[in-house]
Amino acid sequence: MFEVEQVFFGIGGFGVYFRVASGPNTEVGVVFPEKVDEVRGKTKSVVRGFDGVSAQGENILNTELGHAVNQSQELCLGVVGEGEVRAYFQTCFPSKVLQAGQAGRTRASGCPIGDRDKSGLQSSNVFNSFPKVKLRGGCFGWEELKGEEGALGQKKFGDLHEHSCEFCLRLYALALYSAPLCIARIGATMPEKTPLFEIHRQMGAKLVDYSGWTMPIQYTSSLKEHTAVREAAGLFDASHMGEFELRGKRAIEAVNHLVCNDVSQCVDGQAMYAGLLNEAGGFVDDVIVYRHSEQRVVLCVNAGNIAKDWAWVLEHTAGFGLEAENQSAQTGMLALQGPKAVEILSVTSKLSSGQTAGQLKRYHFAQGELAGIPCTLSRTGYTGEDGFELYCAAPKTEALWWALLEAGKPWGLIPCGLGARDSLRLEMKYPLHGQDIDEAHTPFEAKLNWIVKMKKETFIGKAALEKQRERGLEKLWVGFVMLEPGIPRTGYAVFHGGKQVGAVTSGNFGPTVKRAIGMAYIDTVCAEDGTVLDVEIRERKAKAQIIKTPFLQKGA
């Protein structure tokens, strides 16, 4: 369920425009008068306006409207399909037909008034059946705009006044009536929530939209949370991650076809980091493969890629006679990370094998119980510290969370958000899919050669990787430290000898290494350790140097 904090909507020549805000998320769209009967839902507060302008004259929608319509095959599904949107626009604004998915923004308000009258709104039965309502506040006089070509815009709305023409009154009623529709519609596109969403909120975490999920970015301070993981322990909600289970006689063979690492080298109860590659050798995703048995393998995939990966896995394992199950929604996942993690688990958990959590080797996992909750304990993580990732049934996640926080208190365990997760993985130069690695970059370019087993007979992407190896690499993913003030951020251009040689994929201040650090794909000729580069930070060039990674050298 979603909760709407604020709804802005305006009414104009071709329907009701809305903007709905819920937490960090805002959606913009259009409701068409024929569709208002689909209205159902509720709202907390409504800011009323006209033609995208609030009663205070603030432009709330106009510049976003074109964008909204461009996105409408996503935004307006259920309200109006893509074809209808286009048909509507063709009727309304023949000179400005918007292509679905078209980039850029279009000012709908720039359309000639003559076209607006063709919108059909005024002759629509739904519209005309609305009772007139008394306007509160004021609206811009429709009559006054007649004859002005393309004159609607923010500046024209300076002198709002009471107005009561029949058109406006009906429009207003339509808007009031359709607000819930906007919200119901938006509910379907709101980001997903993990089983711990309410807990994050109660604990006062700052929430952000991350890969389509509402996640805590921090509870108190990202720096403090980062340090807790390096020095004691931190607990992360990782329930947004996806889990696919593949079962069948040829499970290992199928997964070995899917990924570039060699799963046949794993024993039962061992996990492996691997790349799910496309035919060109680029990363569809990076995954952890859990070999439960010869006939049962689980893939843990990135949250933002669940739908894409699932389709990919089904397509490419079709010939292997497997049973495949997407368990993402039914699975909760917590990451307990830090040097004290093992001690915390030793008092809370019991492994089925009779081993203690501390006896589990790195990248091994086992079934067990934690505070009475059945879970899979895996000695893996994304922080560079010792630690565990715990999988349980989604409804048990909350109990697991509290049990761990309580048990970990004496060791300094605190809840941690995505901010700390990001700076921790940065210091280790662990890639983030979608930012550091993607479908356009291969494991060789990302210097992840160790996860590619070219000796395997076959796997998806192998042929392309062979070619790339023969041809030689044009760019390499390197880590660098800033020698001059400034923090490298995603997208910043990187120069060498005055020529651009790459761009930053990730960067931030590294709280433990206490320097600004970053990663970038750099032309191979200047990608050697020690090379001094220039990172363009806000029109200024700041010196940086490629260094050996991980940035955090353990035991140094």
Binding site: G419, S423, F509
Partner: protein, 130 residues
């Protein structure tokens, strides 16, 4: 919220504060601003003697999660910059109104202060819908 907004200061819509004394104005960012930004890890400030213009960017503050420009509340010449922020940018979080100050300006047009919000107006501004 009360102690998070200081009575004796003026505020901008971009959440900078100004402490004016005669022709001098000390500038920083508000409690609300630093709270929204999160942990500040880097602050970029103008050179001594440079000029800043009201409403225009004069520097940058970066947190672990975002980069944000600093806008000058008033115009004038930069007399002092808070060098302590270079080594200890977190002062912006811990003491936004004291040790976390950013620059001191000699105002060329002190009347620009009148366009800024006082504490009450700023509080209303923070609570009004965006």
């Amino acid at each position: 919220m009360a102690q998070q907004i200081r009575d004796n200061l003026k505020y901008t819509q971009e959440h900078e504060w100004v402490r004016a004394d005669g022709k001098l104005a000390v500038v920083g960012i508000s409690f609300h601003a630093q709270d929204t930004l999160g942990d500040v890890v880097y602050v970029e400030l103008p050179k001594l003697g440079s000029w800043v213009v009201a409403g225009k960017a004069f520097g940058v503050v970066e947190s672990t999660k975002a980069v944000s420009e600093l806008f000058a509340p008033v115009s004038g010449k930069v007399l002092r910059v808070n060098e302590a922020l270079v080594a200890n940018p977190q002062l912006v979080n811990t003491e936004p109104y004291e040790q976390g100050w950013m620059i001191e300006i000699e105002m060329s047009r002190p009347d620009e202060l009148e366009a800024l919000m006082d504490a009450g107006a700023y509080e209303n501004f923070l609570h009004s819908p965006k």
